[in-house]
Symmetry: C2
Subunit: 194 residues, 2 copies
DNA sequence: GTTGCTCATAGACAGTGTCTACCAGGACGG
DNA sequence: CCGTCCTGGTAGACACTGTCTATGAGCAAC
């Protein structure tokens, strides 16, 4: 529980995060993490009964990182909710592009979950930020706020995923994802003011 | 080249498709496929130099299946493009839900691609159908057709993915994905007629 | 001092993808 | 008819994976 050497558990997660950021999702093997954390391959089991649990902890770190990035972005930008929503979306897309391996891991539900749904809880604060902004910009005859927020998130996520994969640029001939983002926001929230 | 016993290559792909449909993406190991196809574990190498190539062939089968399902649905429904677009979207979501393992595999670009982009070509016909319909329903002041189509696809894909994962229902409290789908189509194409 | 307990090590096991050596069997040329 | 290729499959090895189990070091408490 004390540290000074940072604790094996924390070192494992840190090594995993570092590894997935650097080498991608497929490199995050239990043994490699243990190696980089300087422990034996059996050590992680003490803290994470299975590989999935360790991966989940790493993905949680990713969600936390993304969430704070979003919050920071929103704080630093014009308080107009529509502007903030745009900034949130851009941050989401940038995160996916900059940390592709982590982003992949975060949504590889076949690798995570594992019964205990801690991960969903982890993604909720992020969604809450989005839902809050959506509630502010929603026009009276729009879809219910929760539906609107869900649709927006899905759209955002789809753009991030397909864009990172490279099939969206191929299919649409677009050279950046900003057009898609703008079109999406305009479609859901009405044309941007000014 | 002759058959009567269907050819090892075809048997491998068929076994792989069957396996991913039945047991999910993680079960599609090279050796298990070989086992089910009744050949040794080294045999696939003759036709697919690496595991990735075999997986790509399986995913291609998935894209082909989805494409024909979409085309069939469109043919069987009212010729109104908006109606057809809705049907296309529903088919996409239903496919993802019904064949989750295959759907996952189809978009696991880290497992596929492998330099030769055959897979992207494979997904193009499907996108072309969508793009064609979008071009028909597009209103003059909407985003360019290619952008609109890309945004719609991304949204569709995001819904399919997040829905299958279970985080969308959790976050939005929705009990089915139809509300999200309708909200999305309405947002991008204007409120549905009648 | 002996008993526990916490936590890490190390080895085994089955399974994986890839590589390599081998070989059955047919096609071909002489 | 015989030898030579070559195609297409087998079988074993290798390094690696995640999980399980037995072992042991170090320390707290009674």
């Amino acid at each position: 529980m004390s540290n000074g050497e940072a604790g094996v558990r924390a070192r494992l997660v840190a090594a995993g995060v570092d590894l997935v950021l650097r080498e991608g999702q497929s490199a995050v093997s239990l043994r490699e993490i243990a190696r980089r954390a300087g422990v034996s391959h059996g050590a992680p089991r003490r803290y994470f009964p299975t590989h999935v649990d360790l991966l989940s902890a790493i993905a949680r770190e990713g969600f936390a990182d993304l969430t704070t990035q979003v919050q920071k972005t929103i704080r630093d930008v014009d308080p107009d909710p529509r502007t903030q929503l745009t900034a949130l979306a851009r941050t989401y897309l940038d995160f996916a592009a900059a940390h592709r391996g982590m982003f992949e891991l975060m949504f590889r539900h076949d690798l995570l979950d594992s019964g205990r749904l801690r991960l969903r809880e982890t993604s909720l604060p992020l969604f809450a930020v989005l839902a809050d902004l959506v509630a502010q910009v929603r026009r009276p005859d729009d879809a219910p706020a929760s539906v609107l927020a869900g649709a927006l998130w899905a759209n955002l996520h789809g753009i991030a995923q397909l864009w990172a994969w490279g099939s969206l640029p191929l299919a649409t001939g677009a050279t950046d994802d900003d057009v898609l983002l703008r079109a999406t926001l305009d479609a859901h929230l009405g044309p941007a003011p000014h």
